[in-house]
């Protein structure tokens, strides 16, 4: 059993499983957004995580770094808040489908209160509670201080703080300029831009799912699959040398996974055409350039065919294409991950001469 889990938790399989689970969640959202499912999920997760802790190796790896502790809480919180919003949304959707109004629009829920004292008091108590919690936390779990910094030595594995482990996991597949600068920048800009692009008034002030299916699905995919799950990989499934380790596997620094990563240019010129790499950089990288350009030139019209009719008119040209660009940039991450896992790809376009690698 544990061996099987160690095997299927490898990023290539577990990531696929999470994508499938995500699709199932959107498809069977009615079943998921019920109290019964919510409780079963809570029970299942508690039992599973509890079972993980009965394993000596898992416990050892887990408590090696104290910042693993909050992640367990956060996993529960993420799952809960996601389930809760779906639950509320479907509840309202059913009311609307039955000809009613959302719960939040009922007269008794529209009553207004003063922010002073109602809100301010709540905030005050929240602040006090948080402070107490943090103080207790800081006393109970000692901060994992290490030896003084040394520029010629790095711990192994060298892990970022847990909230950056998703980014660090992204860097495994990309050039630092992309995964370290461009993509994080786009994430921030994209999040800031969402309210300006999303002009759909549906769902203002009430929970809903069906009225905003596209928006919710896109956002949750980025959040749950491409961010939260990557953090989980980076935290629990990466050991020395940033090699994959199963949850029950001992961290042995000598585990070797043979990986010989190859660029598209090498696949194209050496493997396919059986000749050396050309001297001219553009000629050398032509296959990768065509692939990258093709991704946008073919992909975007294809996307338009499925979603264009509905959203192009509603959002307007500029908003629509901004959204398309953001979605296409987001999708480069899973694409690159699968290319790495399937054909050991290093870079699609590889120009170290200009520090430009995709």
């Amino acid at each position: 059993m544990k061996n099987i889990i160690d095997m299927i938790m490898a990023p290539e399989y577990s990531f696929t499983a999470v994508v499938v689970l995500f699709i199932l969640m959107i498809k069977y959202v009615d079943k998921i957004a019920t109290k019964k499912f919510g409780y079963s999920l809570l029970l299942g997760m508690t039992v599973f995580i509890g079972w993980l802790f009965t394993d000596n190796v898992f416990r050892l790896n887990f408590f090696a770094t104290n910042d693993n502790v909050p992640i367990i809480f956060l996993v529960f919180l993420v799952v809960w808040s996601c389930w809760f919003s779906l639950y509320k949304g479907i509840q309202n959707d059913n009311r609307i489908a039955a000809g009613g109004v959302p719960l939040e629009a009922e007269p008794e829920n529209r009553e207004k209160v003063w922010s002073w004292p109602n809100l301010v008091y709540t905030e005050l108590f929240a602040i006090i509670a948080c402070t107490i919690f943090l103080i207790v936390w800081a006393i109970v779990f000692k901060s994992p201080l290490e030896e003084p910094a040394n520029p010629t030595w790095a711990p192994n594995p060298a892990k970022a703080p847990w909230y950056f482990l998703g980014l660090q996991e992204m860097l495994v597949y990309f050039d630092p300029w992309l995964a370290g600068v461009l993509l994080p920048g786009l994430i921030i800009v994209g999040l800031v831009a969402i309210p300006y692009m999303d002009v759909n008034p549906k769902g203002n002030g009430y929970y809903t799912f069906r009225e905003r299916k596209f928006a919710i699905t896109t956002f949750l995919f980025g959040w749950l699959v491409l961010w939260v799950f990557l953090i989980i990989i980076g935290t629990f499934l990466r050991g020395p040398n940033w090699v994959y380790y199963g949850p029950f596997e001992v961290w042995d620094a000598h585990k070797v996974l043979a990986a010989n990563n190859v660029n598209i240019s090498e696949y194209f010129w050496i493997k396919l055409l059986n000749q050396g790499l050309p001297k001219n950089i553009l000629v050398r990288e032509i296959a990768g350039i065509i692939m990258t350009v093709g991704y946008f030139v073919v992909g975007i019209p294809l996307f338009n065919k499925f979603f264009g009719n509905k959203y192009l008119k509603r959002m307007g040209m500029i908003r629509y294409y901004l959204m398309v660009m953001l979605i296409f940039m987001t999708l480069t991450l899973p694409i690159k991950m699968y290319l790495r896992w399937s054909i050991n790809l290093k870079y699609i376009i590889f120009m170290p001469e200009f520090e430009f690698n995709i």
Partner: protein
């Protein structure tokens, strides 16, 4: 609202105003200077850029770690060549580990791997480890000069200075 009124004439009002602004300005300037001071390190760690690494025949073939913790330099000696390599990963600047059993360097940050000669073969590292300038002094000892680097992808590894023939 209280009913007290300050009896101020125009001149007094402006002098109060001036005092207020000067205090405020001084406080901001003080803060700014503290911030500015904070930008500079209290302790500067600057190991010398060049060092003497002994005679080439003191080294065995292969990777040598003796200068790694002091100067951040790996010595690599193969048939005919003696080179000094940087220990900074070309991906994002972590310090890789030398794994003698696997005969490779492996970076702990995102898993890039390098052959003993510094060529990258796995993981995201876009280019090989950089090499430093090496030369022989009059006593036949090697001087490693970290201020001059040679990069493989620019074809610089065959430049004179990038290696010592042994």
């Amino acid at each position: 609202m209280s009913e007290t009124r300050l009896n101020l004439n125009r001149r007094e009002f402006f002098s109060y105003l001036a005092v207020g602004w000067i205090t405020f300005g001084a406080a901001v300037a003080g803060m700014a200077s503290l911030v500015f001071r904070f930008l500079y390190p209290n302790v500067v760690f600057e190991p010398p850029m060049d060092f003497i690494a002994g005679r080439p025949d003191e080294y065995e073939l292969g990777v040598d770690e003796r200068w790694k913790n002091v100067y951040g330099v790996w010595i690599f000696k193969e048939e005919g060549r003696f080179v000094a390599m940087s220990n900074i990963c070309t991906h994002l600047g972590c310090v890789p580990t030398w794994l003698p059993a696997e005969n490779k360097f492996k970076c702990p940050c995102h898993g890039s791997g390098y052959y003993p000669n510094g060529i990258n073969f796995e993981g995201p590292a876009p280019r090989p480890l950089e090499r430093f300038k090496v030369s022989l002094n009059s006593e036949g000892k090697v001087i490693v000069d970290k201020s001059k680097i040679y990069r493989y992808e620019k074809g610089e590894w065959n430049y004179p200075g990038a290696f010592i023939s042994v």
